[in-house]
Symmetry: C2
Subunit: 467 residues, 2 copies
């Protein structure tokens, strides 16, 4: 029997599967919940555990990096080939809160394997998807006979992703030299489904603001004054209503500046996916789709910018009634951004638009929070081609393309490091991120290791630098 | 010196002023706060005190009438002339809550006279304005030499007005025979100002509803789903924005059914008032007027129907941000109604209109509360002419006409008893109803007694019935 590189990778992974899972279970037992201060020691312990394990995997450098919050882990394994590209893998070792009484069938921090699935908080988001890289890099070495990877491999595994990554950008900026890379591989996303392996090629950005409209100095009697002074809740409703036109396009002038329409190829790639609207609506807990005219549901959530009301409030909200003209009313808006949109520009055009909506006698206040940029992997990037080939070898199936509608620290990596971001994730929608009974499919987890092993070989062979 | 009836009334009132004020102060000491259950015994005591005092004044009938809530007081003093008209005076003996620490300069239930003003909770709203009738009817008898009033005089003084009069309509319906009257005199309103004595000729009605729009079954992630499902907060804003057209007219089809435009005479009467927009805006705690095109501020608040947002809410309203598409959003609306508008019709047209505003994928729920009808005194009614003459004799000045923008139980009196409602009130805007340091101007209080005295004479002489 001839040994192909693919079968060699698979053989290595099969042989080391049990030890790999034992280690992952040990890590999952550490309740590294970054949002709960009482778990701060666990988050530190999780970082130390990971650094030790990466050193054990063979990374010559494996360090715990403190931040103003929870620590990150950095590891590096240089290639012996100086012309090899440098790749930085991003993930996180902190997890969402979890308690048995939330509906878990087993203890969230006492992982259990049942029917080919590993159940436990962090199994998919994100410890499992970080940890398959340890198995993947060893399989890569074993299958190729190398003593060091075919790429300069770096890992940055943060500890505050589930808390909004408040110190992540500062960490990147302070360590930009050591983190420098030709490409970033984010392993913190998922695939379309178990049957349809995919690579994600982008995330939307996010700009958020709160608009407060002030009317009378205090709530006033709607019988005595109603109908003769401006009502800030009415004014706010009119402002929010003016946010979209009749085609559900965002009606803020300048909002679409810089946005390119989807190319035929992008639309074709989305259309290849087995989208089932009924099933999607069940996931969305909704009964009808609604969105920008001229776009499919997937195009709307992945590739088009949006404006959403996240919360609105003003006046009397208790039981029964109270006949007042409220003193103020406020709305929280979030804007999802796509490639070409700049948060600063969005803030500028939203402020200008909002100022126009406010009638005489109403004072407005607009507060913008920190923004996240969109990121998009160029479809013709050589590293993406390597990633798709590596996934194809692991899954033995055509690899389709998705995007993420949400936003994340990937954009900071792209911006601070000046490198394209790619997504290697094997989680599926049923994995229950942030929910009770989070799990990862063991078969897919091992496919992730396999894809990683092939990716380092492919990148090392196809993307050498002539420096 | 000849004694005119007017000087005789004045002389009687001057002579009995001190005893009258002593009695009123005694009544004001009873904290008859209907909204606070711990004061229920005080509200009963207040009713008993008043019934005893009315008997002492000479009313042959003076009874405490229990209700399912706080008791009312009924008194009756028939005329000796069987053809005399029957008049029912309405007021209330319960008061708003008050505590020294709210900013009172003296104890709210330990009344004090300072600089010609009587300070204490209930001084103007409404005990003072109820009690001047005891002095008025005695002055009427003294000045005319009668032993019984020139009209069949009835009083109904309720005990739950400050709690929304929940049992008032049932009380009226159960006692409609004993309460039957040719005209109702409501003494629970005020005048334009100390310098500009006025009679109020109407109150607006009130219909209230809450509209709830339901979207996803629970809050869903705005990154994953935003832009592709209907957002109930956005839909609610669009519904509220559609409530008014660009002229600030209510855009609900059928809303203005039955509404007559103001006559030239009505507009002229409003225009006679010394309206100062700057001062009005200060009272409204607002910086600009805004309302239905083609109407003055006074016309807007007194004589035009309106739609106001009293409260709005949905989604995340806490600090910071939360990227959700909310499961639901709700708005509390109130509609002020004018003569010709029927609450049932308003409910019907609002329901039909709201149903049209709700997009696919959003479920709506509309809850209407109990409504209050508008009431309007016909300007040519003989009893109103009597009232204006009586006020003119008391104040020795022309009497102007106002209305109230608010709503009250007057409409129930009009409807259940089938009698026109007139308003005899001497309170002024600075009296501080529902506020700390509520007071009544003693001069005006005595003018109220004087106007009452003249009113019974005038009605008895000018409006005898040929039955």
């Amino acid at each position: 029997m001839s040994t192909t590189p693919d079968s060699a990778v698979r053989t290595y992974i099969d042989r080391h599967r049990a030890a790999f899972l034992d280690d992952l279970v040990e890590w999952l037992r550490i309740p590294s919940v970054s949002a709960q201060p009482e778990h701060a020691p666990d988050v530190r312990r999780s970082a130390e555990w990971l650094a030790a394990r990466l050193a054990g995997t063979g990374f010559p450098t494996a360090e715990v990096w403190p931040t103003a919050g929870a620590p990150a882990v950095f590891a590096e394994w240089p290639s012996e080939d100086p012309l090899a590209p440098t790749v930085l893998v991003y993930g996180h070792h902190d997890v969402q809160p979890a308690a048995r009484e939330d509906g878990w069938e087993s203890e969230p921090f006492a992982p259990e394997i049942r029917e080919g699935r590993l159940y436990g908080r962090g199994a998919a988001d994100d410890k499992g998807q970080v940890f398959f890289h340890t198995l993947g890099v060893r399989a890569h070495l074993a299958a190729t006979g190398r003593t060091a990877p075919a790429v300069h491999l770096k890992l940055l595994i943060e500890g505050e992703e589930e808390s909004g990554s408040p110190h992540f950008r500062a960490l990147l900026e302070a360590n930009a030299d050591r983190l420098a890379a030709d490409a970033v591989i984010v392993s913190d996303t998922g695939m379309w489904s178990e049957d349809t392996p995919t690579v994600c090629t982008g995330m939307r950005g996010l700009a958020e603001c709160e608009i407060v409209l002030h009317g009378p100095e205090q709530d006033i009697h709607s019988g005595s004054f109603g109908g003769a002074v401006p009502n800030p809740a009415t004014a706010l409703a009119r402002l929010v209503a003016a946010l979209h036109d009749e085609d559900a396009r965002v009606a803020v002038p300048g909002f679409y500046d810089g946005v390119s329409d989807l190319t035929d190829r992008e639309r074709a790639l989305f259309a290849e996916l087995p989208f089932d609207e009924e099933r999607w609506l069940r996931t969305a807990r909704s009964t009808a789709t609604h969105g920008e005219a001229g776009y499919t549901t997937l195009e709307r959530v992945w590739a088009r910018p949006t404006a959403e009301v996240n919360g609105i409030g003003g006046g009397y909200q208790g039981p029964g009634s109270k006949t007042v003209v409220p003193a103020s009313a406020r709305v929280k808006l979030s804007f999802r951004l796509v490639d070409g949109q700049e948060p600063d520009h969005i803030e500028k055009v939203v402020r200008a638009w909002a100022a126009e909506q406010v009638p005489a006698g109403i004072r407005s206040e607009i507060i913008f929070g920190p923004a996240t940029r969109p990121c998009l992997t160029p479809l013709d990037h050589p590293a993406l081609r390597s990633l798709v080939r590596a996934m194809g070898r692991a899954f033995e199936q055509p690899i389709r393309y998705t995007r993420e509608g949400g936003s994340g620290p990937a954009a900071d990596l792209q911006e601070v490091l000046g490198a394209p971001v790619l997504f290697l994730g094997i989680s599926v929608p049923s994995d229950g991120w942030h929910a009770p009974n989070e799990k990862v499919e063991l078969d897919l987890l091992l496919k992730g290791a396999e894809a990683g092993a092939h990716l380092w070989s492919d990148l090392g062979e196809s993307w050498r630098h002539e420096r």
